[in-house]
Amino acid sequence: MTNSTNHDLCRGIAVSCWVPLLAFSAWLPAAAQAAPSLYAPPSMIVGTVPTGQSPSVVAVNPATHKVYVANEGDLTLSVLDGVALRVIATLPIGIGSHALAVNPTTNRIYVANLGSSLLHCDRWSRGPRACERHRGIRAGCRGR
């Protein structure tokens, strides 16, 4: 329990249920911002999208313009259309989803859960119905 507490303290947990989409160039030094070809325009909120409870981590697939938000509070993954700025799917994930990563080449999304597991699915961007359970893919991999 002590480890878990320290772990959470180290990470810092977002408590907002809204995900403002920002450009972060305003945080950069002035010299860095002087290179417009390398950095985004000055910071501004381009939209606010409601997600699940306590969104903790975000990942983007630049190839599909999908944004993935892991919500630790309600154990869901929000899939956002990054162009339309709306949630297009909400999917169940495990406890303590502390990290997300996307492979834009294969369009697979990886979710690290506190329970020592790594989940992935390659069809989440198409909606929950396509994200069906696959069992017995290989020895050592458990379908859920």
Partner: protein
């Protein structure tokens, strides 16, 4: 959901190498990094990563992974 791969304890960071279709998972409580094959959905290696790895950054050109600890 396509697969559930068991890695180390308290996985806290994930990095994907799209070039090799390899996934790296930093296991905070174990002090290890699990290397997962994206094609086979299996852990191919578990590497020591020091105390409480918290973040990772992959340099594909140099084939180096930088680790950050809490």
């Amino acid at each position: 959901m396509l697969a559930n791969v068991t890695v180390g304890s308290a996985p806290d960071a994930v990095v994907v190498d799209a070039g090799t279709n390899t996934i790296y998972v930093a296991n905070n409580a174990d002090g290890t990094v699990s290397v997962v094959s994206g094609s086979k959905n299996t852990v191919t290696a578990t590497l020591s990563a020091g105390s409480r790895p918290q973040a990772m950054a992959l340099n594909r050109r140099l084939k180096r992974m930088r680790m950050g600890s809490c």
